[in-house]
C-alpha cells in the first residue's frame, strides 16, 4: 500500500508510482472514479469483455498514489504500485497563521485594553496572559471557542496548538507539555471531562501543573450540548479514582473567567496539580466588557526549579513546602515519574508506608494551604438569619431573589464560592452556629448543597434549590426556600 508524501530532511520527497487497471475484472460501478479525491480517473468509452465501461486514467499528474481506488474497488480491478522516492519537492515554509481568517489581526503579545468579549475567548486570553503556550484539546460545544481562539492565537506567540483525536490524548498531552516545561491547558465540557478523568488522576499522581476548563452543559452523557448546567461539580472533586486534593474555580462573568484563568495557572504551578475552572455555558457564551490590564500589572507565578546539583536532585524530594521542585528538562537532571505510587526518586514503591506518605501529601498540600487558595465573597453575612450559598452563574441570578426576601424583612446573607474546591468547611461550620440555615441554589439536583449540609449539621438547616439545567431557577422558588428556612427558626 502506498502512502502520502513523507517529510524527509529539509524538503519533502514525493512518491512515484503507477495505476494499474485490470479492465476485464471491472463491473463498471464507478466507485473509483467517484471517490478519487483528485479526479485522476474517468470512465472510458471502451467496453471490456463483460460489456462494462472500465475506468481510465485521465489526469495522471494529479495522482498522489493514495490507494483509495484500490481499497474501494469491490472487484479488485484496480491497484497501484509505488517506486522509490525520487523526486525532491522544495520545501515551502509558511507560518501557520498565513492561512488564517484574514479579518482577524495578528497580535504577537498579550492583548490589553477594553473588549466586548465572550467568556470562552476571555478564558483563552487569560491563559495566554498567564504564560500558557500549549493547548491540546478536542473541540466540544460550549467550549469550542476556547480551542478556536487558541488555534488562532498560539501560532502568533510561537506556541503550540494541537487538536487531538480525543480528550484522552488531549489530557495526556498537556501533562507531557507541562513536564517539558510549558504552561499548558485544555478546555472541554461534560462528555470530554469524563474521557479526561483517568489522565486527570495521572496528573494528580505525577503532580503535573496544568489547567482544565470545564464549560458545563446539561448532562449526563451528551445531555444538552448548547445549554447549561452545573452538574459536574462533584466530578471535579471525586472524578478520578483515589484520594487527592482538588482546586476548582467558579467564575461568574467573562471578566472573572479572564482573572481566574490566570489565577488557576498560578495555583497549578505553585501547588503542582491540574486545576479546574468550572464554568458553565451561560458564562462561557456570555459577552460582556472585559478589561485586560497591561502585562506588567498581571501577577504571574512561575514554577520553582531546583537549585540542587544534578547528582543531589531527586524528583519527588519534599522540602518544607510539601511541593517537590522541578528540574529543567534538558539540563542534565535524572528524572523519573510514574502513575504508580513512587518514592523520592520517582521509582515505584509498593509499600504501605510510601502509599500513605504520597496520598496524604496529595491531599494535605491543598488542605493545609487552604487559606492561600480559598476565595469566597461575602455580603451582609454578619447577623444574617439565612445565608444563600452560590457559585458560578447562579451567584448572579439569585440576587433578585435575595433582594425580594430582604424586602420581606428577612436578614439574608450572600456567600459566593469562588473556589468551590477546596470547600470552606470551617467557615460554614462557624456560620452555622450563628444563623438559622443555608439556602443553596444550583443547576443540578443537589451537589454542593450536600457539602453545605455536611458542615452545617446539626446547628443549622440546609435547603437546596435544585434545577436540572437548561434553564434558570424560578426566583420565587429561591424566595420561598429563604422564607422557609427563616421561619423554621421560630
Amino acid at each position: 500500500m502506498a502512502s502520502h508524501a513523507k517529510p524527509a530532511g529539509s524538503g519533502t520527497k514525493r512518491i512515484k508510482g503507477k495505476i494499474i487497471i485490470l479492465e476485464d475484472r471491472c463491473k463498471g460501478c464507478d466507485f473509483c472514479v467517484e471517490h478519487c479525491p483528485r479526479d485522476v480517473l474517468g470512465i472510458s468509452t471502451q467496453f471490456n469483455e463483460k460489456g462494462y465501461h472500465p475506468p481510465e486514467v485521465i489526469n495522471e499528474e494529479n495522482c498522489t498514489f493514495c490507494g483509495l481506488c484500490e481499497r474501494i474497488c469491490p472487484d479488485f480491478a484496480i491497484y497501484i504500485t509505488t517506486e522509490e522516492e525520487v523526486e525532491e519537492v522544495k520545501p515551502e515554509v509558511k507560518k501557520v497563521y498565513a492561512n488564517r481568517n484574514k479579518n482577524l489581526p495578528i497580535v504577537k503579545s498579550t492583548m490589553k485594553g477594553e473588549f466586548f468579549m465572550q467568556g470562552d475567548i476571555a478564558c483563552a486570553e487569560g491563559a495566554i496572559a498567564a504564560g500558557c503556550r500549549f493547548f491540546g484539546g478536542y473541540p466540544i460545544t460550549p467550549a469550542s471557542e476556547i480551542a478556536e481562539r487558541m488555534a488562532y492565537r498560539l501560532p502568533m506567540l510561537d506556541g503550540v496548538f494541537i487538536q487531538f483525536e480525543d480528550e484522552i490524548a488531549s489530557m495526556a498531552s498537556i501533562i507531557g507539555a507541562s513536564f517539558a516545561g510549558m504552561k499548558s491547558f485544555t478546555a472541554t465540557s461534560g462528555p470530554g471531562i469524563s474521557l479526561m478523568t483517568e489522565n486527570i488522576g495521572l496528573g494528580m499522581m505525577m503532580e503535573a501543573p496544568c489547567v482544565v476548563v470545564n464549560v458545563q452543559r446539561g448532562s449526563p452523557s451528551t445531555g444538552l450540548p448548547t445549554s447549561w448546567g452545573q452538574s459536574d461539580m462533584m466530578q471535579a472533586k471525586w472524578g478520578s479514582h483515589g484520594d487527592y486534593g482538588s482546586i476548582s474555580l467558579c467564575p461568574k462573568s467573562p471578566q472573572e473567567i479572564f482573572d481566574l484563568t490566570i489565577r488557576a495557572f498560578n495555583l497549578a504551578e505553585k501547588y503542582r496539580l491540574p486545576v479546574f475552572i468550572m464554568t458553565d455555558a451561560i458564562v462561557g457564551h456570555m459577552t460582556e466588557k472585559v478589561v485586560i490590564p497591561p502585562v506588567e500589572e498581571i501577577e504571574i507565578f512561575d514554577r520553582k526549579y531546583t537549585n540542587k546539583s544534578t547528582d543531589k536532585y531527586l524528583p519527588y524530594e519534599i522540602g518544607k513546602s510539601m511541593i517537590p521542585d522541578f528540574a529543567k528538562a534538558g539540563d542534565g537532571y535524572r528524572y523519573h515519574t510514574t502513575g504508580l505510587t513512587h518514592d523520592e526518586r520517582g521509582y515505584p514503591d509498593m509499600t504501605e508506608q510510601c502509599q500513605k506518605s504520597v496520598v496524604t501529601r496529595l491531599v494535605e498540600k491543598i488542605t493545609k494551604n487552604i487559606d492561600d487558595i480559598m476565595m469566597i465573597e461575602e455580603i451582609d453575612i454578619e447577623g444574617a438569619d439565612v445565608i444563600v450559598v452560590c457559585y458560578g452563574i447562579t451567584a448572579r441570578t439569585v440576587i433578585p431573589a435575595i433582594e425580594k426576601a430582604k424586602k420581606k424583612g428577612i436578614k439574608v446573607g450572600y456567600m459566593r464560592l469562588i473556589t468551590v474546591w477546596p470547600f470552606p468547611e470551617q467557615r460554614i461550620k462557624e456560620l452555622s452556629r450563628k444563623c438559622a440555615g443555608f439556602v443553596v441554589p444550583e443547576l443540578n439536583l443537589g451537589q454542593i448543597a450536600l457539602e453545605v449540609e455536611r458542615c452545617a449539621f446539626p446547628d443549622a438547616r440546609t435547603k437546596g434549590v435544585t434545577h436540572a439545567g437548561g434553564g434558570i431557577h424560578d426566583f420565587n422558588d429561591i424566595v420561598k426556600a429563604i422564607e422557609e428556612v427563616a421561619h423554621g427558626k421560630k
Binding site: 466586548f116 460545544t141 456570555m286
Partner: protein, 187 residues
C-alpha cells in the same frame, strides 16, 4: 435609562448573534454603559431557531438572561411566535414584515415593521439584513448612539464589507415605518 432587556430572534445564519454583539459593544465599550449578551441556539450551523439576548443597564447587571422583554426584534416567524408572549405591555416590537407574515394583535405593543431583508437585497447582499434591522432598531429605540454604532460595526465586520454594512445601517436608520394599523392586523 434604567435596565433594558432586548431579544433578537431569527434563524441561525441571519446574523442574530452578531446584531446583539454590535449593539452590546457600542453600549459597553463606547457609550460607557453595562451590557451583557447571551445567546441560545440549536446544534445546526444554519437554519435552526436562534436568539441572542442583550441586557443594557447603567449599573452592574446581575441577571443576564432575558425573560420579560422590553424590546423584541424578530427576523423570523418562529422567533416572533415564540418570544412575543414574553414582550411586556407597551414593549417595542420590531420585525421584518416580509418574513413575519402572520401577525397577532399588536395593540398592546409599540409595533414597527421594516422589510429588512428586501432592503438588504436591494443593496446587493441579503446577509446585511441584520445590520439594516440594527439600524432600524437604533433609530427607533435609541439603545446606543449612532456614532458608537458606526464604530462598533467597523470593528466587527470583515474589512471588505465595512462600506456595505455601514450603508445597510444607514438604510435601516433612515427607514420611516408606515403608520401602524389601529385594528391590529390580520390574524
Amino acid at each position: 435609562m434604567s435596565e433594558l432587556r432586548v431579544k433578537f430572534s431569527g434563524y441561525g445564519g441571519q446574523g442574530v448573534i452578531l446584531s446583539a454583539y454590535i449593539v452590546g459593544k457600542a453600549t459597553a465599550i463606547y457609550d460607557g454603559k453595562q451590557a451583557s449578551m447571551t445567546q441560545a441556539y440549536g446544534p445546526e450551523a444554519r437554519g435552526g431557531a436562534c436568539s441572542s439576548q442583550l441586557v443594557i443597564d447603567k449599573k452592574a447587571i446581575n441577571y443576564p438572561l432575558v425573560d420579560t422583554t422590553d424590546i423584541l426584534v424578530a427576523l423570523s416567524q418562529a422567533g416572533y411566535d415564540k418570544f412575543l408572549p414574553d414582550l411586556k405591555n407597551k414593549g417595542t416590537l420590531l420585525y421584518d414584515n416580509d418574513l413575519v407574515s402572520v401577525v397577532q394583535d399588536h395593540s398592546k405593543y409599540n409595533a414597527l415593521a421594516i422589510p429588512a431583508t428586501r432592503l438588504a437585497e436591494e443593496l446587493g447582499k441579503r446577509i446585511v439584513a441584520n445590520i439594516v434591522m440594527v439600524g432600524f432598531v437604533i433609530a427607533q429605540t435609541k439603545l446606543a448612539s449612532r456614532e458608537s454604532m458606526l464604530r462598533a460595526i467597523k470593528e466587527s465586520v470583515p474589512a471588505k464589507f465595512i462600506d456595505l454594512n455601514l450603508k445597510a445601517f444607514e438604510v435601516g436608520f433612515n427607514y420611516k415605518p408606515s403608520k401602524r394599523r389601529k385594528s391590529g392586523g390580520k390574524k
